[in-house]
Symmetry: D2
Subunit: 382 residues, 4 copies
């Protein structure tokens, strides 16, 4: 089990890109929403020909904890939007019905949803017993995309222990991106992709709220970076090492967090705006691309968890004041997707199949000719 990968590749903002006008928060990550923790278990083992059950293994698990405490006691207000249901995410009907998420959110590969669901079930039962009580029923949220292009997916290498590790290793602060966790074996628009994250600060009525996005990107299309059709332009350059392989299908899991005290209905509105970020990176919205957006609010919970009457934010009196949050979601998702690709290194997996990293030198050169890099007016983080 390899828990860390180090990528020396830049994030989108490090080459001067800025998506939208709102500033990112401290880590430009979903962990900028106070309390949110991210943990990865990354499995990279073996090389060469695929031998089912033996490898090569290129997969993992990513855990998103809305806060560090017991989620069954303190569920977070939540919602989801399914742009394309060509995949599976367990727990969505509970989110619809109760407007809450009551477990950690887990991401993994398609065939390991059962193992991860079982793993998080075991983790929560164990946690309950450790706290000296019987567990009540719960319904975990487990999402996936398919990494069988590089990974021995049918080998079912994810075990309960990997789920425990991802949850227990979850941390605030900087988030590992690219070929880590559930993104270890994924790709997007023909380039190696994986996990990416970003955040935005929004001021409403004198208060500052944070929106964070984390993606497991694995979708098809032709990559667009800040409006520039990089996928098409790289193909025009016709250099073999630069061009992406054809990628028609795929999927994306998008997790959105905010400390703004929003109801599930309002979070559903936020989740929908995530599709704008996806559209702007060039997704083709393909038939087989399961595109799921899950949003939760950390702040709203605190009112409920504290045994007090729940308070909804003052700004719901004029819900048009949500507009900056809507823009923040679209922009953070767009940048999180870019980061998931920027940070991912070339990977060779099963049967020697290689998915190339985005060729940064060529990309920067193209972006410069479009006036895109190194804006002088980059907003500092809020």
């Amino acid at each position: 089990m390899i828990n860390k990968t180090v990528s020396n590749r830049p994030r989108a903002r490090e080459i001067g890109l800025q998506i939208g006008k709102l500033p990112p928060a401290e880590f430009n990550a979903i962990t900028d929403v106070e309390g949110v923790l991210i943990g990865h278990t990354t499995l990279i083992e073996g090389h060469g020909a695929l031998e089912i059950g033996k490898g090569p293994i290129r997969t993992g698990v990513t855990a998103i904890l809305p806060h560090p405490r017991n989620l069954i006691d303190e569920p977070v207000e939540a919602a989801h939007f399914v742009f394309n249901g060509a995949g599976t995410t367990s727990g969505l009907s509970l989110i619809d019905e109760f407007g809450q998420i009551e477990t950690p959110i887990l991401l993994t590969n398609t065939f390991s949803v059962g193992a991860v669901y079982d793993g998080v079930t075991r983790y929560l039962i164990k946690t309950a017993f450790d706290e000296g009580r019987n567990p009540r029923w719960f319904n975990p949220t487990v999402g996936e995309t398919y990494d069988g292009g590089l990974n021995d997916a049918a080998g079912l290498h994810i075990k309960a222990e990997h789920v425990f590790a991802a949850i227990e290793n979850a941390r605030s602060g900087n988030v590992a991106e690219g070929n880590v966790g559930a993104g270890t074996g994924t790709s997007a628009c023909g380039f190696k992709a994986g996990i990416g994250t970003s955040s935005r600060c929004v001021e409403i009525g004198g208060k500052t709220w944070t929106v964070g996005a984390l993606v497991q990107s694995n979708f098809g299309g032709e990559l667009i970076i800040d409006g520039v059709p990089i996928g098409e332009l790289l193909t025009d350059r016709a250099s073999a090492e630069d061009s992406a392989s054809d990628q028609i299908d795929g999927s994306i899991m998008v997790i959105l967090a905010t400390d703004a005290p929003l109801s599930s209905r309002q979070l559903h509105r936020l989740a929908k705006r995530g599709t704008f970020g996806l559209a702007r990176t060039g997704s083709n919205g393909g038939h087989g691309s399961g595109d799921y957006f899950i949003a939760f609010s950390t702040s709203y919970r605190q009112c409920i968890g504290a045994g007090k009457t729940a308070e909804m934010a003052t700004f719901v009196q004029n819900e048009s004041r949500l507009n900056p949050l809507f823009c923040a979601v679209a922009d953070a998702v767009e940048e999180a997707i870019l980061n998931s690709i920027f940070r991912a290194e070339t990977m060779t997996g099963r049967d020697g199949r290689t998915v190339p990293a985005l060729p940064m030198d060529a990309v920067i050169e193209i972006l410069r000719t479009h006036g895109k890099c190194w804006h002088e007016t980059q907003p500092v983080s809020c």
Copy 2:
């Protein structure tokens, strides 16, 4: 592993009840829809005090196979309706998006969804390899209700082998009801319940179509039998052995099958009508009752599977001709629920907790005073 239970208790129709005016088909079971197979794995082990991981065990798995062949190659048109999303059923977004089910449908207990999802994943991967090809991605449909009142639910006793057994033992013809499979440890309206099934024949335009329902009943409320408030009347009799324990919450999984060539949109309309049957048995529609209705058509698939252009039924030209199918669904669900309770025997589970069977003698006496049993005009099966 105990795969069979024999119940000597009567089905609803055997004491003269008839729900609605439409006749049942040969077995009065979901298997009357040609091709549909049902398999149960029933786990009943141990007695006495709950010892997590050791038992007592009162649980199981039920497999519904829409047809005997490979479902990934020949998916069936399908739809669902969630009356109350307070539970989990995996695979619903795929049903929405593709209008299809492409795997066996599995039912189990709440905490074993992960194990059963993993089990069916393993089964389908194995099947693919047995057929000499790599599996493509798929998204199983796994539903649940909570049986922790009798079962060592947190002991996680369901394993992949139990899923394999339920699928491999699936049969046409008579269906075991009551304390079997996923219904082994469930109860409804304070009485022991479990698996129940029923069917109806419908004639539209000179052709006969069959509708079948199978339920895993576990919901709260006061039992109503064919309009008679049995739950309330038994309580009024105040005899301890007759009265049900309080049951506020619970859940129900309802699977509907038909050979009528319906589109997913039309099947969604059918699924919704299932709630009428649930309402008429006295469900209180409680907060925590995850009530899921899944409907599929076996006939529609055949057109697609055969590589031909899909044909939709002629009667879609006047969709009001679906009305008899709507009634058939409501009636079959109502009777399937009654059968799930009628056929279930008293069970004692963890910590000596006992859920009584419906007291048939008292029930028959009450029904007779309401003129309900032994109608002279029972329709013979079609």
Copy 3:
């Protein structure tokens, strides 16, 4: 224009029926929810052969005002559930998106939706100008069922003035039922029906909340009264004057009000439970029956309207405490439907077509043999 009809026929509770165990409030009407006002405009003119544009006219408008003040300034939290979308109700997408209703709710006949929408638009524009300001945009909620069996529906007899009258005549207290307002020309299960209402009191955590239902009933099926299949039994009696004409299709509009401080998500859950009441009255859920359930909370608004931070009810911390409200909805809808039929008198309309009233003497006789009338333990109103 005839604004009042007087019916001497009894309400369901006046012959001793009681639906469920919860007590009704003072008027056993939707107006028991404080602030709710109901107004009817009833158009009954002409006899004999249908002459399009001249009559006979048997139609009307019913206005439901969630509270007496300006709804655009003080919208009420709201939700809806469409059991069968075979009809039209304008404004549903706004209810979904904002979780609010911001106008009076109007009911009418199918072909007059445009006229009523235009009428309420004119009313709200006029109201704004009367208050000395420009109107901002709004989206009225207008529902319908089809009354063309008795009414010169294609004659389009509803005008803006009838909408104004219904809104301006809206009152609290007793609600006219049967052949009034939007129910003037409707029928259900083959009997004359129309407007009906009922209410329930629920105690949660030491506080009493009220739930009210108002229906415009026009649906097909075989009438069931408190579990007794009256429709079928009357047919068996084979007396011409008692038996209902065949009614396969139709529709129902159900409006639910409560003073419980519920969010739109919770109100959606309430709205769904209304279908249980519909099922229990014998609806066949027919293809062409547009069955719409709209729920609003009067209490929740007050927090928003007062410029304060909105407060959600304490009981959302344990949403299972909503259960009594769920039962209240199912029961109030069932009783409101019965009242809509009980109170409606035989009506002869276009081309001399007659829809018979429910034959009360025969019904009471049948109910007595089932032990249904004059319970000794009727709950007094709360």
Copy 4:
């Protein structure tokens, strides 16, 4: 009543832009889908101060006829997607339930939905009588956006005669764009906008299918043209006459037509992809922007209408073959929006308020510096 406006302004493709890689069809309009007819009624009257009921009038009606025959007899398969329900479109529940549209689709301004609903009701009743039969019930599809920024919206200037005119004047071939019909008084991203249209040809399995889009654009955001942030760059130029006024809110109605034989479920998938086109033009997805996407198939109907068994397209056997249609939708919507702005001339309305046209010279200059105009490889129409 002014029925025609002539705009000398170029369409997007006439300055060399090409959105995506698929070619447009003959007219690059929704009318390229055989049978589709578009009719506008444009009302432009008066100048100066707003006098409610007198003007100035800047509004209209646009009619989309899926085919020239009676739609009640030959409804078209249809679906919708609501990205943001902050508006009203009547008839959506029927589209969901029956998967069909059975009337012309009408677009107008927010306050005139009632008048237009009434107008189309009158039109369809008249049509039925003209054909010598009684009308059965129907539910029209009427959408809207708010044009009160320029128009005397509260003056309610749209009458039934304007609806009749739009329907009766509906034509195939070239479609008037910009300040016509329902787009007469609308604006987008701070520039004058209105009606726009575009089409794409797609080859699947040796057959060519057409997708057409028509928009009534009225949304907020910062305009993006083919990836270039024109709104932001024009603002940077700081020339008063170029810069758009602030536009935060608004709405958009998008109508999609295709001759591909798709089911309502598949059309729903198409409709969702329309949001990608909206995202790429810079919409901010604002709180008050009612964004509705309605899609219909002309081909599917023909099977039903002819009294034959309906045939679904062969390519549903492998629904991934829909991918080119998904791209076609996103691209056609994006280009239709651009055309709605490109073709709209500066308009001065109520109280002398002026919304500027997009400054084409400045835009072309900016686009050229981004290498966007006059591609040499423009696809000819298919």
